[in-house]
Amino acid sequence: MATTPAHTEILDEGIGEFRQPDPDGYREWVRDHKSRALTSKLMTEQEAISRFVEDGDYLCYDCTYLQRGPSSLVRELIRQKRKDLWVAGKFTWVMVHLLIAGGCASKVDCGFFLYGKAIDRFVQEGRVQIFEYSNVVMTLRLQAGAMGLPFLPVRSFGGTDGFRHSGAKLIRDPYTGQPINIVPALNPDVALIHVQQADMYGNARVFGTGIAHQETAMASRKVVISAEEIVDTEEIRRDPGRTSIPYYSVDAVVHAPFGAYPGECAGYYASDPAGVIEVVVATLTDNLDPYLEKYVHSVANHQEMLEKHVGVAKLLEMQQRVATREGYRP
């Protein structure tokens, strides 16, 4: 029988702050808080954010303000003035900027975000602390969290300065004897995920490619789904292979048509180029306050935002520009 060293040999480690993995704590949370019963979780965006997002939470959303992101939920979160969030900035674009400008986020784990004057100033002023990862390293941290593990080994990230400013460690692999990097599991407090279809229990369908909607849902203590369309559970049962996220990981379901506005939701509508340019310019020129005033604070909710600042004509035009439905509309 091979002997295993009494202590794992740590060859190098990052200095970045990170949430300590706690797989048993997470299991107990899941035991005590995730409803096993088929009960309706339908609620308004106000109720979902108010009940499930708390100050100081670690927040993870999937996709971006440009593609199938939970944009209406993020705007509601800013409207309700959540504070001191730690945000998983994997494969993001401008949502990090909106959350910092809105006074909601104070820490970001970076995979990728749009650069520009706004984020540069937030960093210089110390309004946000950034810890360095990559997109795939972040989704592997979520994978570890979704598997109930404390960490995962990764074959990327080694030797970078990102490693130095992260929670990663380089250890000697006890099996091969070679150096291997490990990254800490991520179990966010709350996840926001926008999907094409869900039933009232939270069985959710994502069509097209995605970032880590399944891992994010399974790894997160509280999961809020917004859906373009609420479908009957019989429709879910008719084609179970299409269920991306099972009901028992979900805490709230919000019906949010055009919930990804100004971005695209594949199969449902194309993006609004003018709306996209508006948020990009606000981010690049560090002028996000007027943007937030218009799209978040001056309206009571998502529906009022669509009525006042987008309008039916544009929404219909966005639907018309959907060029393909293959794979997106079963």
Binding site: F91, S134, L140, S156, T160, G162
Partner: protein, 280 residues
């Protein structure tokens, strides 16, 4: 195929990479900009059986053209007619088991050992300009067998040591540095292509100039490198674009002129005897 008489040097850069695409191989490509243009042009004109993936897990797509300037990963246009739709961890795992032959990336700053910075210019944590982070580039540069990097030929972008290693090249250049850092054996930087030149890496894992565009000399290229690369014994001359390549790039890919717009500097004109560069 006729040699073009007027083109932008950035068009030349994309076309140079498009011609390097190897048929029957797999590419993990940055999801926007010139790396994506290069693989699409390579597939259309020279290597129909080259396949590519982006980090959202789209496998071997045939995206809708002409290219929508605000098209991004996860969009229906980008994922059109793919052979598979997966997610980011699938993309990462496919590369991690060795399925991706090549990666193609853009870099903000690069150093003599091919390390890439996309995080911050200046002293990290102190006086710096913050950029967007590696995104998928760290995985591409770590896990693909060979990495092709595209960047501008500017003095301040070719340095001895990048301000921040976002994505790994040969790290400090010592033998086995990547393996000692836990990266897979046999991977690493392969070519660097700028609008003026092409580089490979020598036995010391340092950048080496191997070809220059016909409108510049070796000395002019070296003047635009803060840290001087090695120079091959014989430096080749890069072929200029053909009209067919430019037509594809302009009418199908860079339709908004983001690369070739008239206000972009670095136009190359055939004056009847030779190619000359004019600013703007």
């Amino acid at each position: 195929m006729t040699r073009a008489t007027a083109f932008n040097e950035r068009e030349m850069q994309t076309i140079t990479v498009a011609r390097m695409i190897e048929d029957g191989k797999t590419y993990w490509v940055a999801g926007a900009g010139s790396p994506l243009y290069a693989i699409l042009m390579g597939k259309k004109l020279y290597a129909p059986n080259a396949q590519y993936m982006t980090e959202d897990g789209v496998i071997a797509p045939e995206p809708m053209l002409p290219f929508d300037p605000i098209m991004s990963m996860v969009s229906a246009r980008a994922g059109y007619r793919a052979l598979g739709w997966a997610t980011m961890n699938a993309a990462g795992n496919h590369a991690q088991i060795g399925l991706m032959d090549y990666g193609i990336l853009n870099a903000l700053q690069i150093d003599q050992y091919g390390n890439i910075n996309s995080t911050a210019i200046g002293t990290y944590g102190e006086k710096m300009r913050r950029f967007g982070g590696p995104g998928g580039a760290d995985s591409i540069a770590s896990l693909c067998w060979r990495t092709i990097v595209m960047t501008d030929q500017e003095k301040r972008k070719f340095v001895g040591r990048v301000d921040f290693i976002s994505s790994p090249g040969f790290l400090d250049g010592t033998p086995g540095a990547r393996e000692k850092a836990g990266l897979p054996r046999g991977t690493g930087p392969w070519r660097l292509v700028t609008p003026w030149a092409m580089y490979d890496y020598n036995e010391e894992r340092r950048l080496r100039l191997i070809a220059v565009a016909p409108w510049v000399t070796v000395d002019e290229v070296l003047a635009e490198c803060e840290c001087k690369p090695a120079v091959a014994d014989k430096v080749e001359t890069l072929e200029v674009p053909t009209d067919e390549e430019l037509d594809m790039l302009r009418s199908q890919l860079d339709v908004a002129g983001q690369m070739s717009g008239i206000e972009r500097s670095g136009w190359i004109i055939w004056d009847g005897e030779r190619y000359v560069r004019s600013e703007g």
